[in-house]
């Protein structure tokens, strides 16, 4: 059986490897939600392929908009695949740290309340 340290290292390496492969091999087709929006807006048929220029129209008013740090898991065109890899590594490690941090925070809170 793996000890905790090996499990964490192995888990993070597998996660980052999956993300690394994803940068090069992930499908660029829209996800189920975007596909549905394209079908409803008449840009694609239910079972047909998605035209390369298909784009979801933003039809609603009173919505919020926000510019994220690394939109679409990239650092922009000029960074190319390297930007994608950096984004995936940052995200994977951040997800790990956020959960560790929050778990410790709630545990610490639990201790001080006792």
């Amino acid at each position: 059986m793996m000890d905790n340290k090996t499990f964490i290292v192995a888990g993070l390496i597998i996660a980052i490897l999956i993300g690394f492969i994803a940068v090069f091999m992930a499908s660029s087709d829209p996800d189920g939600l975007e596909s549905t929006a394209l079908v409803i807006q008449g840009e694609k048929s239910l079972t047909g392929v998605t035209p390369p220029d298909a784009e979801v129209q933003e039809t609603l008013e009173d919505t919020f908009s926000y510019e994220s740090l690394m939109p679409d898991y990239s650092l922009g065109e000029e960074w190319g695949a390297l930007g994608g890899i950096i984004a995936i590594i940052v995200g994977t490690i951040l997800a790990f740290l956020v959960v560790i941090g929050l778990a410790y925070a709630v545990k610490m809170g639990a201790k001080t309340n006792q």
Binding site: I8, D31, G32, T36, T47, Y73, V98, I100
Partner: protein, 217 residues
Amino acid sequence: MHIPDAFIPIWQGAIYWIIALIFIALALRWAKNELNEEKLPLVAVLAAAIFAIQSFNLPVSMGTSGHLVGGALVAIILGSPFAAVFILTMVLIVQAVIFGDGGIVTLGANIINMGVIGGFVGFYTFKGLMAGTKSMPVSAFVAAWLACVIPALAASVELFLAGMFPLVEGMIAMGTYHALIGVIEGIITVAAIYLIMKARPDLVDQGVYSVKGAAPV
């Protein structure tokens, strides 16, 4: 099925946030009571792995792609739907804030769909099917498939209320695409359970091994 900010008006997003916060509070209570030094690495590694796997969009035909969400996987492995709420909330926050995947105002709705509905549907379907079939792969596959399809249908109702999708057309399209994407969810969930059972059998909830142990003690 991450709903972007442009798809839901702010006031409706606020309502989903309030509902989501109730479940987040319950998930934090779960973390406080259930997480110990032994389990913490698994929980954190699961969060990292789910983030990475979610970036891997696989083609599912019909001009559409999809990826694992992971609500059923987390709930089954850790033996509680609140584990899914806890981990998916954190993953969704990182995705929305840093990478603009899903929205900020719509984050509440996304947490409800993928964390809460995905976690509860996944956990209780698994528990029920384990009692009936005694087969982990069959139970986990069906649980994960439903934990992809039901949240997608919930999202289509939310987007109908938002004025974005017509109800029936939206549900048909969302249901069709996520019935395909759910197969990915099922396969990866079963494979990941096997993998974790092999690496650290002690960290996997007893419900995965036996029907009797499925009841929370």
